[in-house]
Symmetry: C2
Subunit: 451 residues, 2 copies
Amino acid sequence: MGQPLASPGFTDGTVAVRGALLDFVDDPFYKPEAEVVRYVADGLLLVRDGHIEATGPYQELNSRLGDRPLIDHTGSLITPGLIDTHIHYPQTGMMAAYGEQLLEWLNRYTFPTERKFADADYARQVAELFLDELLKNGTTTALVFAAVFPASVDAFFEAAEARHLRMISGKVMMDRNAPDYLCDTAQSSYDESKALIEKWHGRGRLLYAVTPRFAATSTEAQLKLAARLLDEFPSVYLHTHLSENVSEVAWIQELFPQYQGYLDVYDQTGLVRSRSLFAHGVQLTDAEFQRLSEAKAAISFCPTSNLFLGSGLFRLEQAKNPEHSVKVGLGTDVGAGTSFSLLQTTNEAYKVAQLRGQKLSAFKALFLATLGGARALCLDDKLGSFEPGKEADFVVLDPQATPLLALRNEGGIPATLEDLEDLLFSLVIMGGDRAVAATYIMGELAYPSSV
Amino acid sequence: MGQPLASPGFTDGTVAVRGALLDFVDDPFYKPEAEVVRYVADGLLLVRDGHIEATGPYQELNSRLGDRPLIDHTGSLITPGLIDTHIHYPQTGMMAAYGEQLLEWLNRYTFPTERKFADADYARQVAELFLDELLKNGTTTALVFAAVFPASVDAFFEAAEARHLRMISGKVMMDRNAPDYLCDTAQSSYDESKALIEKWHGRGRLLYAVTPRFAATSTEAQLKLAARLLDEFPSVYLHTHLSENVSEVAWIQELFPQYQGYLDVYDQTGLVRSRSLFAHGVQLTDAEFQRLSEAKAAISFCPTSNLFLGSGLFRLEQAKNPEHSVKVGLGTDVGAGTSFSLLQTTNEAYKVAQLRGQKLSAFKALFLATLGGARALCLDDKLGSFEPGKEADFVVLDPQATPLLALRNEGGIPATLEDLEDLLFSLVIMGGDRAVAATYIMGELAYPSSV
């Protein structure tokens, strides 16, 4: 593998990177892969001021290098930065909590852990470790649950801002069915969220998500105030959980008997919109999929978490049904998910598909983790591919990163799309964080932190 | 973590190792964990000539050190070497083969790969890499499919013998429903297996397994000759596949209409015995579990493979039903399994249990990978725990091996069994090969290969 020549800050966001370039121009769930996969075996990515300027074959573009530094990643595969559409930063230290399914897991492990994030110093420390882990795993953007405390949001955004990351986060809203020490009120959650939006939303690359935990821990009054925030700030997001586990769905029905099911609670309170992202959706009915499609809302598919908590097998093919397609991204859902790696998460997505008699191709898997995630977050004008003008967040994957991968991929960078898909599948299944040789943010090396 | 002071060969198999010692004296599926878990937070393992001499608290045993070198692994957890009860060494280079379930996967990927093992040089090269991977993952004993070619067995045993490993392997027997280039005949498979048994079985630590691939690729004549080998050499093993996938079970019924199901084919041909190990058993009926129990035969539970190929969810609680208990070990089943790590395999076993509404505790998981595996292989007089007299194959696990594990386990080595179980669960879920700080074979450091 070529060694990076630049260190952080050196390139000033203006740089050229040589390697095998792979991205998507459209969705392989709806168009033939050969039409939507863009692959240049010996490619050059020209970056200026942190944005993609041009991309194409090295032989065509190398005359345009000028005096920008050339970083040679020949032998590696360069893809757009990976996008994690559902993750909880306060749960970084509680991964692998034993023996419970969703509701008991929340009470026994999650709530006591999140309490610690009232302490801003502790929150800052975990936020840094969390961002280190994201970058090590090639994840450059994430939609992130903070804790209920505004200070936990400040700590996260401060850490993300210092690293120039495009991150979306928000304060948890939760005014019932949780310990007192974690509860806000409908009004205080509105006020605090509003102040955080005014402080952080659109500051640099940061964006805000209104974040009720899930319908069971919010009163109807709180959900309606969340919707008011969406009305008042139309460019903020809605981020919550939906239909993860059978007992949860039944509980929601008990709590909200006046509504027609789980999604309808969010819908009638005004939360189902095009910038709404619902994590899980394992138990969704066909009609609910259809409603999400109509509303142009998105789902975060979190296979590792769904297996770890025994929640069930997400019906990806139903979400991707061309009759009523729903935007889908991938989520690690750390800490119910047990890995920060979106490659490892695609591995688990493949297994979920296999158990359901479906196939998830390597290209479709990578699409979900890149352009698919960007579309789910309405950020595909800025992220998710190498289209000129987009922000230059990208990942360098070494197909021979371990002795087993070196044996598996002894041919190195492939010439054909068929061989590329085979190589990519090996990274989906066996890659994890080890395949990530480098992560760049706005054209600057962000991982490894020093070379 | 304490640094090992010895290098390979230095200790001559006579050594003392200090650390937190964890093993089992009996099966936690049938007895309370507090009764069967043996834990010494500050322990000493005294090893002489490659065998356990004594184990207990450091303060009690340190007077018996004599002049043997003391290796300090304080801060780490030391367990018996992990035992992989089902793996294919010729498939090392074909992990992560895309998109098929069992039967198509065999035809499309496996058979062409195994053909390469007619070449003894190639076989030797892969055998070395395979053993490197086992040791890196803390696996000290495995029951291993070779290929159909006797040279592939020689290559494997030669490599294992040079490392003083206790390994069990055998030539694949396969006389139909496979490409000509991989087929033997009933008679040639008998003759070749017999010659290999005479050459290798009982040589040093090596043992032989008669290895028909599965009933679909053997004629009844071949299965009966396999049984004759078991009669002639009562201490060899039988190693094959059983009831992995729905289509496979249906095909066996077509191929052997005269028998009462899949297991009955093996039973009526004389292959269901106490030294018989059947991989998978995902589709077994209750009556088949009962028959395996009566015969004292064993199952290898291979969760990673079962998820990767979409075979299904093994009913562990049925195998462990105290009314008719079946011996169960864990198998990675590389290359349908996608990791050499038995810790990673316990992670997937936990998920299989969760999807079935069951819980697999960390202690039960580690039992399956140590003493449970030894019992499944009828090797519990030699392996699987720290009982004095047993062979000193053991693994050093670092509970703070990664930044995430360090955060998760910031308390270090625990004092109580409850805290130990919590720490162990983090290694089950997040450990993989990274948690393996060192692997010892007969009291000598085998991984890392140099310090």
